[in-house]
């Protein structure tokens, strides 16, 4: 009797194993490599949501159809805790344990610098949020950037804001790592180009939550404007809150990725009133509004505006697989994606550019906006291209 049970059990296991294996063959694995904890968690959730919503969209239709076969998209994610060594561990697991070839991530500049060499060696397509110019280049042909980085939006945005607010003396707080240092330098140059002086720059460790001593140092240099640059959403919010609590009444500008939701939530509507922000997307646009609704319904939390950019990139990836008629030839998929022009996505028609700045077309070319926070919501006051804002 016992032997009979054993035979039945092992046959069942074999059948299940075969079924599982053949199910595996009809899958496209999408990895997410992002910060899912700490001050940058809101960004990571945006990227994870973009991947999962893209997978849901495609799986609802029975899978992605490539060269006549249907593929289910499966998402696997790892938290890099915004630390370079954890980023390396996470990428290792995606590439070597899970055998994934398409990754939404890495998120931070420090992570990008750490993992892009290995991703390139293993021919893995990555879609990064990293603002450092070192994330794109001829030496990383599989690295794409679907967000407009400060290198692209700083100049036009800062030129517009300085003119509008008559800014003269700027101060800023920057995290003491790759992104912070790059953004600090880029910001200072951009302000100086249009006649304002970046008087004071203070660097801090990312986990810091008390900025009162640092803000005191900035105010001692008589600045009239605070620049929030690319600080993580919760950090930016704490800076706004603490600056207003210290009696700072001057303009606060964020020339960095979307943090509006957090700023309003943590600093409060009163403190957030009048903060100038870089707006990545136009939430009034029908397709974007629909995406936001889907995100909020699925995750029950505010959506960070970077999410639709990654969603658009994943949509382009799927389109590239269909155009190249393969899910495994990385070079063909990469080239198909890179050559897309005016491709219709959730954020409208987009292309790739960056030939001049990086030597290779891997920077998403899409419009962006300058907004002002009024009564807890960012209102668009200018539309911008990579050249200028109107």
């Amino acid at each position: 009797m016992k032997l009979m049970y054993r035979i039945v059990a092992s046959s069942a296991a074999c059948v299940a194993g075969l079924a599982f294996a053949s199910a595996q063959a009809q899958e496209i694995k999408l990895g997410v490599h992002a910060t899912l904890s700490g001050a940058g968690a809101v960004w990571g959730q945006a990227m994870l949501g973009a991947a999962e919503l893209a997978a849901d969209e495609v799986n609802a239709k029975g899978g992605l159809e490539v060269a006549g076969k249907k593929y289910r998209v499966v998402v696997t994610s790892y938290d890099d805790k915004y630390k370079a060594n954890d980023a390396v561990t996470a990428m290792n697991r995606l590439i070597n344990d899970d055998k994934i070839k398409f990754v939404v991530g890495p998120l931070g500049s420090a992570a990008a610098v750490a993992v892009l060499p290995m991703a390139t060696d293993d021919k893995v397509i990555t879609m990064t949020m990293a603002f450092t110019p070192k994330a794109l280049g001829k030496e990383f042909p599989y690295s794409f950037r679907p967000v407009i980085s400060s290198a692209e939006f700083s100049d036009p945005q800062i030129a517009w804001v300085v003119k509008k607010l008559n800014v003269k003396r700027v101060g800023g707080l920057f995290p003491n790592d790759e992104s912070g240092q790059q953004v600090g330098a880029a910001n200072a140059k951009a302000y100086e180009k249009v006649g304002a002086n970046f008087e004071a720059r203070e660097y801090f460790e990312r986990e810091r939550v008390d900025f009162v001593p640092l803000l005191t140092r900035l105010f001692a240099k008589n600045i009239d404007t605070i620049e929030l640059n690319g600080n993580a959403p919760t950090t930016a919010a704490l800076i706004v809150k603490q600056a207003r609590e210290m009696g700072f009444k001057g303009p606060i500008i964020r020339t960095g990725g979307d943090a509006t939701g957090e700023i309003v939530k943590v600093a409060g509507k009163a403190a957030a009133e009048g903060v100038y922000v870089h707006q990545t997307i136009n939430p009034a646009d029908a397709k974007v509004a629909d995406y936001i609704k889907r995100f909020q319904a699925k995750y029950k939390s505010e959506m960070n505006a970077f999410s639709p950019m990654f969603h658009a990139n994943v949509q382009m990836l799927f389109g590239a697989m269909q155009q190249a008629k393969t899910t495994t030839d990385l070079d063909k998929i990469r080239d198909a994606m890179a050559s897309m022009k005016d491709y219709e996505t959730v954020i409208g028609k987009v292309s790739w550019s960056g030939e001049q700045a990086y030597g290779i077309k891997r920077q998403l070319d899409a419009p962006f906006y300058v907004g002002v926070i009024r009564d807890g919501v960012s209102q668009i006051v200018a539309k911008c291209t990579l050249k200028s804002c109107d």
Binding site: L36, V42, Q45, Y203, D210, T216, S301
Partner: protein
């Protein structure tokens, strides 16, 4: 902004931070002094206190001051349970007790992560706005935290100095065998002491929740600071925790304001290294007795 204004603001901010570090350090040092437990999970009780206060205020509309008390009590009860189940088996085995505490820390952080997600949460303190004293500006919520912490420490001192329970705890800390011979029931006093220790951490968390926001990893830095304070003041010494906490807060705030954030971090740790080299029992601690 004149130099005097700068200095006064830095000192007041340093006192607020110092009170926070002091609350954390008193609890941490108590656990060691009375039970010889190095509670590496102490920061997680700060985090739990912050979350309990957050949920009481945002989900059940409990007034903030009551929520702080609620956070302290709830965490104290949890602490007593943890002491009986997790730490008691390791009394007398300090090394394994430390390892167990580290494990507990990781478990609590990740349970919080699973239950509440990684995104930082915040709520507004009812003590919003600022107090203007001439050119000086003080945020009301920080002043409230300072005041509440002072009251708490005074209450704690009264309890330790003037009550039976406090005397029992001090006796156990001084000499366990003699205390037991005198009829002190360790099995009653230990869980109470641990509950108080983590209750203090939880109240610190609840006081700082509206100021700094709350996340599963929020306890990491306060734990580190508590550790530094306890080294400064002497492991097991409550006066040491008080003095050390205030010192650390002031050093951090003054160095951060007058020098830079990086220098502030370096100075604090350089101080620790210096003390460990030349006066390892801390400023107010007791030298290790030989024999």
């Amino acid at each position: 902004m004149s130099f005097e204004v700068l200095l006064v603001q830095a000192v007041v901010n340093g006192l607020v931070l110092g009170m926070l570090y002091m609350l954390m350090a008193i609890g941490f040092t108590m656990a060691f002094g009375i039970m010889r437990v190095v509670n590496f999970a102490h920061g997680e009780f700060y985090m739990i206190g912050a979350f309990v206060a957050f949920f009481l205020v945002t989900l059940w509309d409990v007034p903030y001051v009551l929520a702080i008390a609620g956070a302290g009590l709830a965490t104290a009860v949890l602490g007593a349970a943890v002491e009986r189940t997790v730490f008691k088996p390791f009394y007398g085995d300090e090394l394994n007790g430390m390892i167990v505490a580290l494990g507990l820390s990781v478990i609590l952080q990740n349970l919080a992560l699973i239950a509440w997600g990684p995104a930082p949460r915040s709520f507004a303190s009812p003590f919003g706005g600022v107090l203007n004293v001439g050119p000086l500006v003080f945020p009301n919520e920080r002043l409230f935290a300072l005041g509440a912490a002072v009251l708490l420490v005074l209450g704690f001192w009264l309890l330790m100095a003037r009550t039976q329970v406090g005397r029992a705890m001090r006796a156990l800390a001084q000499d366990k065998e003699v205390a037991l011979m005198q009829g002190i029931r360790a099995n009653r006093v230990y869980p109470l002491a641990f509950a108080m220790a983590v209750g203090l951490a939880a109240v610190a968390g609840a006081l700082m929740a509206p100021v700094f926001s709350v996340s599963p990893f929020a306890g990491h830095t306060p734990m580190l600071k508590a550790f530094v304070v306890v080294i400064l003041g002497g492991l097991g010494s409550i006066p040491g925790a008080v003095v050390g906490g205030l010192m650390l807060g002031l050093i951090e705030s003054l160095a951060g304001t007058l020098l830079s954030a990086m220098m502030a971090d370096i100075l604090q740790l350089a101080l620790v290294i210096g003390l460990l080299l030349f006066r390892p029992w801390g400023l107010l601690g007791q030298r290790e007795r030989e024999g």
